[in-house]
């Protein structure tokens, strides 16, 4: 347990030391989301800006009025407002894929990584990360497909009973198990990505193998660390929503913005914490291996 605690706190320390990465990613996502919401904003402003009826959305949130707004012909089709946001979500994902190698290198460094090194790492590893992403998608996709298929079959079976809560709890437990399995795969590929960057390994299959071996050998420690941080993330999300509900007046746009963005920033921070934990683990493991290799070996004295 103390190893786990050390790992989690070591990851936290790395993430704290390099918090600028979290902030930059957060600002990038905020900017993308802002651009993605432009169409929505334009549609809404055209209808709401000069209407007294809009008060029902400002001082409170009347769901019926909101649905009326969405159904309004001048608001346009809902996909027109949602597609840009979806596109920018994909752009953020691609940006994350592009810049993550620099972040991992920065996490492994004991000094502030110069900008050119950061970008060099990004550039050198971009296609490796794309390949790793494809491997991850295939492996995680197949496993998720099998597990969700099994869960669906189980749900169908439980649905035949009249115990209404059984399907719910089966679904809940099943989903948690699937998330744990996917977390293990995520750990595996987080370590593979770290290996690719820190060893500058062009053959990603070797890094995938390294990641797999390390995950298999230290599954308990790594999984507990990731789950602890994931629980913190859920707690952050719940606390943010409760805080929003409790202290932000319905008409306070600024208050909602601050609480909402603070929650999202902390939420993003937890994922970077996980990445930092993986890097801390990887660096520690490599140091152990190198120390083992450098211990001098002596021939046993010959006693006569």
């Amino acid at each position: 347990m103390s190893d786990n605690t050390n790992l989690v706190s070591a990851g936290a320390e790395i993430a704290r030391r390099n918090k600028r990465y979290v902030v930059w990613f957060f600002l990038l996502n905020l900017a993308f989301a802002h651009f993605g919401a432009t169409a929505f904003n334009d549609s809404a402003r055209g209808i709401l800006d000069h209407s007294l009826y809009a008060d029902k959305l400002l001082h409170g949130f009347n769901l019926g009025v909101f649905m009326e707004l969405l159904a309004h012909p001048e608001f346009g089709a809902i996909p027109g407002a949602t597609h840009p946001a979806m596109m920018f979500a994909v752009v953020f994902f691609l940006a994350s894929l592009l810049f993550m190698p620099g972040v991992l290198l920065g996490y492994a460094s004991d000094h502030r990584l110069p900008r050119d090194e950061f970008y060099r790492a990004c550039g050198r590893n971009v296609w490796r990360f794309v390949r790793l992403f494809l491997f991850f998608t295939i492996i995680a996709g197949v496993i998720a497909w099998i597990l969700f298929g099994a869960l669906n079959a189980l749900m169908t079976a439980t649905d035949k009973t009249s115990y209404e809560r059984l399907p719910f709890f089966v679904q809940l437990v099943g989903t948690v198990i699937i998330l744990l399995v996917l977390t293990i795969i995520r750990i595996w590929f987080d370590l593979a990505q770290t290996d690719v960057v820190l060893r500058d390994e062009p053959a990603v299959r070797k890094s995938i193998a390294v990641g797999f071996r390390k995950t298999r050998r230290h599954l308990g420690r790594l999984l507990v660390s990731y789950v602890v941080i994931a629980i913190v993330a859920v707690a952050v999300l719940v606390a943010g929503i409760l805080l929003w509900h409790a202290i932000v007046p319905p008409s306070s746009v600024l208050g909602a913005f601050i609480i909402g963005e603070a929650t999202l920033l902390l939420l993003l921070g937890t994922r970077f914490w996980q990445r930092a934990t993986a890097v801390a683990f990887y660096v520690r493991e490599r140091a152990n291996v190198e120390a083992t290799r450098t211990i001098p070996t002596f021939a046993a004295p010959v006693v006569t």
């Binding site: 209808i47 959305l57 769901l63 009326e68 994902f93 894929l97 993550m100 991850f136 009249s162 008409s251």
Partner: protein, 659 residues
């Protein structure tokens, strides 16, 4: 002269009498029982008496039954043809119900693929007319609405001898039911069953002709009042509930039990059975006497039963005080099997609600709304028994209007549908959402099966009718409207009124000619949509060089344009607010397409609002009913902020798992 005439009449009667099968002297009669109602005398003009003995096979979901139907011919003329509904035959692939469902949608089933468990059937094994013999081989399926030869939901028998006016006839029918997995609020789900529309039911003689429509994808039912005596034989482990009062419960040696029910002055009979029901008993004191409430609850929903009982009793209280008394001695509320399509249905003295074990308190549009709505049908359908095929709005729409009033009264107008985590919605907001998307497709007054599609049927029949009646209430006043509804209920309970009966009652009580309104709102498809087109405030001395505008000193020519966008013409109020706080009210008859109001004032127009008292509930677009001179970006910013947060969260989640 008088003696001769009398002798002639006696002679003619003696010659003609053998032609008629039955007469008033045949011993047949509709019982005048009152044991199931809080009244010493019958409440309705009883036309039918059903005496049924049914045995349910819980494994095969089938039912074997005998039905003795006594019919009292009160049509004023001899009848030799009788049509019967066989509703369960609707659940067959080539039926009109399924065809329409495939084409236009049903209430809950899209039939992408036909499944054998959806099959339902109502098969007549034998059909005997007392005194005339067996007519089984002479039964004919008829298709009065669409000539679909494959539809078997209406069967007709032609008697060899007519039944005279005021005469009686008795039919003895043996039939076999195959229930589908719940469809249209009837059938089985796991080990639950809801027996709705399960027996051959005679059509209704209405306005000089038989009214016996085929079963359509989203129409409901229409039948005569009468007396029901029903014996249900089910396995002993079943918990049974039904309409009327329970009069017997006997265990049989073969592991079954027979539960007997009796009901007075109702026009349909439904029942349910499941081994899992828990029973919650309560009482409501109506102005005609105590009503025994029996709530049949799923075990997982027991924590919700207090809330269900509360909303039921509060609804009964409002209806009793506002519209009239509930006269029956019982009301059974069924919480059907989870996942079944038996949620939210009405039968006389028997309704289904439905909930979930996790339903939060503030989600009023879930079970609370369903319970209120289905109870409301005890009035608008149960007692005021309108034709649900041809005038669906008279039960569903009038009931939706009552629902808005009752739910607003219980939970508050702003939160009567939803009050959860700061998100709210009133019942009238919900009704608006129903109809705004389909507001000009069909008029309210239309045969239920002839709507453009199920969305139009739902949006117009439920939502638009409710909004039209709420607007009407704002025109004639809430008290007058309540008095009109009360009068309508008392005058037409236990009868089958037409749409004009309802509309004329409102005109009569309000003392106003409302035809101009009804012609557009009920019979027409005109859309009601007024907008503030534009506003302007231009300094009178605009042409002067170096003009400096000073508040309270500079004079302005203020203009306001109002536009009638829709075809619906109705007089409206307009409120113009100036930035010094002055307000001006104008009234426009709406006859022209637009109107401009002009003012010269030492102040600018701040805002203009059409219908400032919010009386026009069914104006399609409320956003354009007002216009402010200055833009207020806060509402859009608030929504955009929500949207930004949600899309950021989704993007982070995507990146969390994939990178």
């Amino acid at each position: 002269m008088y003696v001769r005439l009398t002798l002639f009449v006696c002679l003619m009667v003696s010659l003609v009498a053998p032609v008629f099968a039955q007469s008033a002297g045949s011993g047949m009669a509709i019982p005048a029982t009152t044991s199931a109602i809080n009244s010493p005398t019958p409440l309705s003009q009883r036309v039918v008496a059903y005496d049924m003995d049914a045995k349910y096979d819980a494994k095969a979901h089938t039912l074997e039954a005998t039905e003795t139907l006594t019919y009292h011919n009160l049509t004023g003329q001899a009848l030799d043809t009788f049509p019967f509904h066989l509703y369960l035959n609707a659940f067959q692939p080539t039926s009109t119900w399924i065809r329409e469902g495939k084409r236009e949608g049903t209430r809950g089933q899209d039939f992408e693929k036909w499944q054998s468990k959806s099959y339902g059937a109502e098969e007549i094994k034998s059909f005997e007319v007392m005194g005339q013999g067996d007519f089984t081989s002479q039964l004919q399926y008829v298709h009065p609405d669409d000539n679909n030869k494959d539809d078997r939901t209406v069967v007709q028998v032609h008697l060899s001898r007519p039944i005279p006016a005021d005469g009686y006839v008795q039919f003895k029918i043996k039939f076999h039911d195959q229930f589908p997995e719940t469809l249209e609020r009837t059938g089985w789900n796991r080990d639950f069953v809801l027996g709705g529309q399960w027996f051959p039911k005679v059509g209704i003689w209405w306005h000089g002709a038989w009214n016996c429509h085929q079963f359509h994808a989203y129409t409901e039912f229409f039948a005569d009042f009468g007396v029901y005596d029903v014996k249900l034989t089910v396995p002993q482990f079943e918990v049974v509930g039904a309409g009327g009062i329970e009069v017997g419960n006997v265990n049989n040696p073969d592991g079954t039990k027979t539960v007997s029910y009796h009901a007075d002055d109702i026009h349909d009979f439904a029942w349910t059975a499941s081994p899992h029901y828990l029973i919650y008993n309560d009482t409501f004191q109506s102005s005609m006497g105590p009503v025994k409430l029996r709530i049949m609850v799923q075990p997982a929903h027991w924590s919700q039963v207090g809330r269900e009982a509360r909303v039921l009793k509060e609804s009964m209280d409002r209806f009793d005080r506002w519209y009239g008394p509930y006269p029956y001695k019982t009301l059974t509320l069924v919480d059907p099997d989870p996942g079944s399509q038996a949620f939210g249905m009405e039968y006389p003295t028997f309704i289904t609600g439905g909930t979930t074990w996790w339903e939060p308190e503030g989600l009023h549009f879930g079970s609370a709304e369903a319970i209120e709505h289905e109870f409301g049908h005890q009035y608008w359908y149960g007692m005021v028994a309108t034709n649900e095929f041809e005038d669906a709005w008279m039960d569903e729409g009038i009931n939706e209007y009552a629902q808005v009033k009752v739910m607003d009264s219980i939970y508050g107008p702003q939160t009567s549908a939803l009050n959860l985590w700061g998100v709210t919605a009133g019942e009238r907001d919900e009704q608006r959402v129903f109809f705004t998307g389909v507001s000009d497709l069909d008029p309210i007054a239309k045969n239920g099966w002839q709507y453009a599609d199920s969305n139009s049927y739902g949006g117009v029949t439920y939502g638009k009718t409710a909004m039209v009646l709420l607007t009407l209430e704002n025109i004639i006043g809430e008290d007058t409207m309540r008095k009109a509804m009360h009068t309508y209920f008392l005058r037409y309970r236990y009868t089958h009124p037409t749409k004009e009966d309802f509309l004329k009652t409102i005109e009569e009580v309000s003392g106003r000619d409302l035809r101009w309104y009804f012609n557009q709102a009920v019979y027409g498809t005109q859309v009601l949509d007024y907008e503030v087109l534009k506003i302007s405030s231009v300094p009178v001395d605009w042409y002067k060089e170096n003009l400096k505008e000073k508040k309270g000193e500079t004079e302005y020519d203020c203009n306001v344009w109002i536009h009638r966008k829709g075809e619906f013409v109705i007089p409206i109020d307009i409120e113009i607010k100036f930035d010094n706080g002055d307000k001006v009210r104008e009234r426009w008859d709406g006859q022209d397409r637009w109107i401009r109001y002009e003012y010269r004032k030492k102040t600018k127009v701040e805002s203009v609002e059409v219908d400032p008292d919010h009386k026009l509930e069914f104006d399609r677009n409320n956003f354009n009913n007002s216009r402010t001179a200055e833009a207020n970006p806060s509402p859009a910013r608030k929504l955009t902020n929500y949207w930004t947060c949600i899309s950021q969260f989704c993007a982070q989640l995507l990146a969390w798992w994939l990178v």
